[in-house]
Symmetry: C2
Subunit: 161 residues, 2 copies
């Protein structure tokens, strides 16, 4: 089980998921950047990831296709804005590739990984939005529950790496 | 005088300014990235640039403050998304720094510079928007006249470098 920690938003329309995860940050970074590993934890079960393509570098494109239990697929295209190995990943859905504007810029995700001692990681995932409406919608969609469940799944997967 | 060339938009909500400019691309790149030079041409006269701060690298912040003839100032914060020396500059106003969402993501600018022979440059500035409303508003604000006048001013400034 991950341990919830208290971390405040730093920007106006932000949601934060902050946990201590029982895995070193190198393994967590790998679970975020290797498509085959990401598929094992990136959506709350029983949803699955049908497809993941990750060009992990600033300006690199990502495409993650989520699949619901009925088999409907939901593509999530985006672009990496910043990548610092084992430390930081920034992505946004505001572009579908570098630099084609998406139909609707919804959020930017800033993930930071810090050593927390004893092989654990201080894991902070921030979702930054462009509007009050979007941050409220994201919270209502179940941000905390969904990203929280994924953090648990991530911890399990990382433990096996 | 610059020479207008016919270049089509590549994305849905895009405006394009395309010119042959009588200056080599190294000088044009310098005029875009050196704040003191940029101040000399970046707004149509009689407007002026009161202040320019340019951290020219992917993720670097830019702040350009425009001043109208009455002395009112208009700050334009943004972030560089991609920079290839003497060839390409990509910026957006969707972030005020890396990676704080702006109040309103309006556009992404992709500038490409190619050799056109005889010391001239094929200069293509694309303004990409997230919505039909924004691209229409930008055109109505005088995109073609404004960016066109700036291209002329840029050519004059680059000739003196």
């Amino acid at each position: 089980m991950t341990e919830t920690i208290d971390v405040k938003p730093e920007t106006e329309h932000e949601l934060v998921l902050a946990r201590i995860i029982a895995a070193p940050r190198e393994k967590i970074f790998r679970a975020w950047t290797d498509p085959e590993i990401l598929k094992q934890w990136f959506v709350p079960k029983p949803w699955t990831i049908a497809r993941a393509e990750l060009d992990v570098r600033p300006g690199g494109k990502s495409l993650i296709v989520m699949r619901d239990p009925e088999g409907n697929e939901y593509p999530n295209p985006g672009v990496f804005l910043d990548v610092v190995e084992n430390k930081k990943i920034v992505t946004t859905d505001a572009y579908t590739d570098a630099w084609t504007p998406a139909a609707k810029p919804f959020m930017t995700m800033i993930l930071t990984l810090e050593d927390a001692g004893e092989g654990k990681t201080r894991y902070i995932a921030r979702a930054l939005h462009w509007s009050a409406e979007d941050v409220a919608a994201h919270e209502k969609m179940g941000f905390h529950e969904g990203w929280g469940q994924c953090a648990e799944q991530l911890e399990e997967v990382a433990a096996r790496l």
